[in-house]
Amino acid sequence: MARRKRERVVVITGIAGRLGQLLTRRLHREEGVKVIGIDRRHFHRRPKDVEHHRIDIRRKATEDIFRTHRVETIYHLGLMHDPRQGQGEHFSWNVVGTQRIFEFAQRYNVPKVVLVSSADVYGPQSDNPAFLSEDSPLLGAQRFPQIRDLISVDMLAQSYFWKVPELETVVLRPVHILGGVKNAMSNYLRMARPPMLFGFDPMMQVLHEEDMASAIVAAALPGVRGVFNVVGPDAVPLSKLVELSGRRPIQLLHPIAPAIARQAFALRLIDAPSAELDWLRYAVTLDGSRIRGLLGYAHRYNARDAVAAAMRTDIFEGAAEAASSHA
């Protein structure tokens, strides 16, 4: 500690999630940055010199971290995306929590905030263009009102482009991240018989979790600001992804599928609400040229690797407690 004159310090919210852990590994082990994590959940296999605060971002104690450290970057990964949580708590956690993060950044002169939003904000619709750009409208809540808090968070972050222009705000909107993460798409592929809607086979974009970690690191470079879609390999049909996972899909008739999904959700057989069936029906494919052009980011893993990463179960050892997933 004493050797270094000034240590680089970063804050990662949602550090106990899979993506938080991957990012920690990159920053801490590979770049020698001091990482401070904020997450209510237990951080398994935490490296000794990574500081972890098991607190709620909305609590006063969070401010102490910023008071006592000169934070260089805040990586805001700690959005809640748990369909089993109550709507009120969801909204408060995500929107109020994000608001607090930006307030701290402003008050303690943090130069950069990186928010990990999601392609969910665009939403599955029949009239989606084949390449959704960063300027496309955020219609995700049109048919799935439960995710309007995620859209609010995305918009809130965008408002800081003009509210605090000296703050470098980056919003990342990744497509389906596959790997040890517990998000809807990875969970879907891990099902014994992933459901498909009979007669529908939308194009899907997936992204290996390591590529997502690279994109986050790239976004933190000084001078980078703005909204970026994060896209990995070219889109493939959903049926191809299921085939790569080695599972056999079960075909549901789309008019009755929502009723089945509602029952299965109520019985806790699945963790995705029925509105997410639209993802199996309509394509949400993003244009990734902006992040490639401006950040020089390039994916390393293809769709096969990404699916394989989602099917690996050994990474879940002892991680059962991390129940709520992070998009």
Partner: protein, 331 residues
């Protein structure tokens, strides 16, 4: 007992109805229209038999060569699919069906196909007709089968259709895309040939009384042509208006099922749901000379409308020619 009687009654009624229909058919045959249709149908049946006898399928080697040509310049990923969902492998699979439809069912005749450039961006603008969008499939087939070198078309499909189960997936895998300006712009920038029906749903659902009268043209295609510097090839499909006879559109039913329109085919009284199958009319496709336009893509509607009207007139001219040249609906 009574049930048995009831059934017997039903059979009798059906037999009576059939006798009546036969009488009507006989009458029609004896009158002028009937005789005309009868000779047309027998001639068409003869053509059909001839095609079956002599073979209508494309030579396997020739097909291979054409597919190879198409694959040469496509942006396919490792799974053989392009970003829009087009899969040449899938097209190969459904190809026999499309070929049979093009050669046998419609016995399609093509004129002026050399007007479509060999490569580079081009907008193909056609009249839309026939209740079901087989005109798009036939134009696509003509460019694959009757043009050398072949060209793959990407057509702009109504979003209602791409959202349908099976049919939507079929369209997408065959290279068709949801009709949005952004999709069209990207395809043109990738030097593709894009087929647009500027009449949209209003064109395809015309009732029989309005056949070959073009509905209002949208302006979007012209703005895109100006923006991307794409030439326009006007196309007329003649014959498809008679494939399904439509008395009018049931607006309330369309609203109920969420479709752009629902036709009322009078033949449904005779044929039931089979009345929505296209009749084996003969199709004629006329490709007009390429037109180029210059100007500001964001010009006033009035300015754009003049340019659109030019394309519309060109298509009307081609339709007139087609109607003049044809001898009947089926031949």
């Amino acid at each position: 007992m009574s049930k048995q009687q009831g059934r017997a009654g039903t059979f009798e009624r059906i037999a009576d109805a059939a006798r009546d229909q036969l009488a009507v058919a006989r009458q029609a045959r004896e009158s002028g229209v009937g005789r005309q249709l009868w000779t047309e149908l027998t001639e068409a049946a003869g053509d059909f038999r001839g095609l079956l006898r002599d073979g209508y399928r494309m030579d396997e080697d020739e097909l291979e060569r054409r597919v190879a040509h198409l694959l040469g310049n496509k942006n396919l990923n490792e799974y053989g699919v392009d970003p829009f969902g087009f899969s040449p492998e899938y097209v190969r699979k459904v190809f026999p069906v499309v070929e049979a439809m093009y050669r046998l069912w419609y016995r399609t005749e093509v004129h002026g196909i050399e007007n479509v450039p060999n490569d580079g961006r081009v907008l193909l603008i056609a009249n839309h007709s026939g209740q079901l969008p087989f005109d798009g499939a036939v134009i696509g087939a003509s460019l694959l089968l009757d043009r050398d070198p072949p060209r793959m078309i990407r057509s702009m499909v109504e979003k209602f259709a791409t959202a349908l189960p099976f049919f939507g997936t079929f369209c997408v895998r065959c290279g068709q895309v949801t009709g949005l300006p952004d999709n069209c712009r990207r395809l043109l920038d990738a030097e593709e040939s894009v087929l647009v029906f500027p009449e949209g749903a209003a064109g395809i659902s015309k009732p029989f009384s309005q056949r070959y009268k073009l509905a209002r043209f949208g302006h979007g295609f012209m703005r895109l042509a100006l923006e991307t510097g794409s030439p326009i090839v006007p196309i007329a499909v003649v014959g498809a208006e008679e494939q399904i006879i439509n008395l009018g559109n049931a607006a309330w039913l369309a609203k109920l099922v969420g479709a752009p329109s629902v036709p009322i085919p009078p033949l449904a009284l005779l044929l039931g749901p089979a009345a929505m199958l296209p009749m084996p009319v003969k199709l004629r496709i006329y490709y007009g000379e390429p037109m180029t336009f210059e100007g500001d893509p964001n010009d006033d509607d009035a300015v754009i409308a003049q340019k659109v009207a030019e394309v519309r007139r060109a298509i009307e001219g081609l339709i007139e020619r087609g109607l003049r040249e044809r001898r009947g609906y089926f031949i």
